[in-house]
Symmetry: C2
Subunit: 111 residues, 2 copies
DNA sequence: ATCACATATGAGCAGATGATCAGATACACA
DNA sequence: TGTGTATCTGATCATCTGCTCATATGTGAT
């Protein structure tokens, strides 16, 4: 699988960037459960509908979610099975070897 | 797997944040191949040793990499099998359904 | 002890990010 | 057509990020 190309690195980083925010993570988590409209997502995540809409735009551009109207509502769903998979594995990851509880940090070797 | 907690969302986002930068992605990619020292990483990634060192610090704090001295060098390796797995799956992901070539973006439904 | 090599670290700065606010757009229904 | 609901969007601003530069620390060899 050789050392990754610069372009691939960029794309990978872009994918992870889409998942690098707590609000977006919660949006994705909610959508794993099933499709949902913007207002409901705002309620679940606990931020304004405007903020959710902005985040959904990002996720849409990344092709991680998909939208379709249903009456006056716009219903979102995951556009990608891979992402749900990656998401689930990552969740397993933090559930396993993260025996701490407080914030992040503290070095490992240097110093 | 119910709707994720705020704390879990924070941790997940933190993990993805560690992978959300092209330089760090390339560092991880290099380490997947085997342990490497700072100078070599700098050469591979194409940024200064100082910049690499800063990024390695972040990765160390996230417990994604581990370091040990070897003479005057400090050799880094992945501290986590899960991450290599997540990384590999994500790579597969972008290699599969990313048939475009240019930058990112362009909406999907609204408008 | 001194010097060169290898890495780490703090300060500082330019660019990115995410929330809010105000206003635009889209749809359903009377 | 007008009104209320649902969502989107641009501007703005405070905060965060990642790099560079200068400097400190650590190691091996002379």
């Amino acid at each position: 699988m050789a050392t990754i190309s610069a372009e691939q690195a960029r794309q990978l980083a872009e994918l992870f960037t889409a998942l690098s925010d707590p609000s977006r993570v919660r949006i994705i988590a909610a959508l794993v459960e099933g499709e949902t409209n913007v207002g409901a997502l705002a309620a679940i995540v606990g931020i304004s509908e405007s903020a959710v809409s902005h985040q959904l735009r990002t996720l849409r551009q990344m092709r991680l979610v998909r939208a379709h109207r249903q009456g006056r509502r716009v219903v979102y769903s995951l556009d990608d099975a891979h992402v749900a998979d990656i998401f689930q594995r990552s969740l397993d990851h933090i559930l396993h070897d993260s025996p701490d509880g407080d914030s992040s940090a503290l070095d490992r070797t240097p110093q």
